[in-house]
Amino acid sequence: MFKNHPTLRYILTRGSWYFLTFLVAVTINFFLPRLGPSNPVDIILAKAGGVSDNATRQKEESYLKEFGLAEVDKAGNVLRDQKDAPIRTSAVKQFGNYIFMSLKGDLGTSFMSYPKKVTEIIKNAVPWTIALQLPAILLAWIVGNVLGALAAYRRGIFDKVFFPLALGANSIPFFAFGMLLVYLFGIYWHVFPAVGGYDSGLIPTFSWGFFASVLYHYTLPFLSIFLIFTGGQAIGMRSMCIYELGTDYVKYAKWLGISEGKVLFYMFRNAMLPQLTGLALSLGVMIGGALITEMIFSYPGIGMAVLSAIQSNDYPLIQGCTLLITVSVLIANFSVDILIGFLDPRVKAGRGAR
């Protein structure tokens, strides 16, 4: 059956490699935080510290049991060694527990935001991250590619002015740009709000007032991502278009007298392919990215959640977030592979010839 369906075979082989990657990544993301010397329960206890020895000991035991970090005997008491330190469950055993629970849909309870569940924290944070980046990335992609194509097509003065500008814009670290925007428009000229997702005096509802406030607060973060991303896209698209413009088939088509519009259409389609690839990859990394933008504008997204999780050794939250990032990046890459498989005739032909 597979011999007659090269496309299906292609999807399945790629898919299984991606699944393998997923398994390896999940394993690494589990064991990596545990390689460090610090112990999350110690951190929690130390922060509360200085109360009484008995209370601390009781608390240590209850947390170790709750998080599955210590060996427990039949009566439920924590086993201790000669130095009276609790005996820890091995990382492998913890891993087994983790897999078992995740398959049931329970990603665990966060250590530092006890007793909040990891799924709840992620559920609250992801919309912010996506809302912050998705519109900016999409719009920047469209506008950037259009401008890049224009620059390639028109050349001349437009190109000579525009190209260095775009290159310069792309050189500024995006967070520095964001901070500058905040300083100029948020503080110095008090035009846009400097922090927050929406007005503090509002509760999120489906009302025009709320959306207006969100848009108002979104302006600066949006601009900080949009302007720089546009520059990058424009440069890439410009190179691709210039490359395509010089190809033989374009020269041949023009020489044959085919209308300019039609030629442009095919040219754009070919140049678009790597750009689409880039878009899919950017969307994939979106979940894990923009940590600094979230920091500067105080958007409570995934980036900030992961950073604080790592600093407190909050294993379940780290695992949950990295799981999410892993899945989104792999899905994006997988979609890109499929997309290229379908859209790029060269790949299809190559596969068929095998």
């Binding site: 990657t21 990596l32 670290p173 901070m179 500058l180 190179s239 490359y243 992961v306 790592i310």
Partner: protein
């Protein structure tokens, strides 16, 4: 060789290279003209004056001295990360592209794994288990380890298209082993491409370092352009109008990266004839 001479005729290349050399000169030779002192503390947050050309930061250190030190550190991190990432990425990419088949799949697997793990996760975890903590070298190594995937992909694409060329087939027929073919037949063709990849990796290494320092995960004992920006943010330099604590570092980073990008574009223009006009 002739190709390289053509480079010097391109105006954008000259601009890029001069910017780059200017920055290198600043980092290496400026200390001869200006007394670099990162230990004396004067009044904090002072605006530019005769004594302190770019003012002082929140602890009273001279900004110019900090900037020069920071420039050196950032360049060091960028280049080290660029070299490591390009080397690893190129070797793996060439091998994968050339061999194809299951070797290609395995290397793609490896690439994807590295793409998937977030940079700062690796950074914190490794640095917290090392006694000396985060040094510039460690940061450079980790940036390299998390960004080599880009060069691997780029080089792999190029090398797999080279695979079907005639001279490779000839080398096969002559009985050359894979390593010989890779080293003598493929790499020379890729050299210009790899060099451009190196430039981009270095530029992105510099930006990555500044991002990492901004999060607060920068080097413990050294000054870098990123830590200067981080200090400015944490000490609310901007909201007090102390632009000198913030702008010069930004300008320097942008300038270096811009120089790299311009060099890269002009090289592209020279090496890829279709891009010439």
């Amino acid at each position: 060789m002739k190709m390289f001479l053509n480079l010097f005729k391109s105006p954008s290349f000259l601009i890029g290279i001069s910017l780059f050399l200017l920055t290198i000169c600043l980092a290496l030779f400026f200390p001869f003209f200006y007394h670099i002192d990162v230990r004396t503390m004067s009044a904090p947050m002072m605006p530019p004056s005769r004594e302190h050309w770019l003012g002082t930061n929140h602890m009273g250190f001279d900004m110019v001295s900090l900037l020069v030190r920071g420039l050196r550190s950032s360049l060091y991190v960028g280049f080290l990360a660029g070299i490591i990432a390009t080397t690893v990425g190129t070797l793996l990419g060439v091998y994968a592209g050339f061999k194809g088949g299951w070797q290609d799949e395995v290397i793609t697997l490896l690439t994807n794994i590295f793409v998937v793990i977030p940079q700062f996760v690796v950074l914190i975890l490794i640095s917290s288990s090392m006694k000396e903590g985060r040094s510039l070298t460690l940061i450079a190594v980790i940036i390299a380890l998390t960004s080599w995937t880009w060069s691997a992909r780029a080089v792999r694409a190029q090398s797999s298209s080279l695979k079907s060329r005639d001279h490779i087939a000839l080398a096969h027929v002559n009985g050359n082993g894979t390593l010989r073919i890779v080293l003598y037949q493929i790499l020379p063709y890729l050299f210009s491409y790899v060099f451009m990849v190196f430039i981009i990796q270095t530029a992105s290494g510099i930006i990555s370092e500044s991002c990492i320092s901004m999060i607060g995960l920068g080097p413990y004992d050294s000054v870098s352009l990123g830590t200067i920006l981080n200090d400015a943010m944490r000490n609310e330099a901007l909201s007090d109008g102390a632009w000198w604590a913030f702008m010069p570092a930004t300008v320097l980073i942008s300038m270096i990266v811009f120089a790299f990008y311009v060099i890269n574009t002009s090289m592209e223009g020279v090496f890829n004839p279709r891009l010439r006009k």
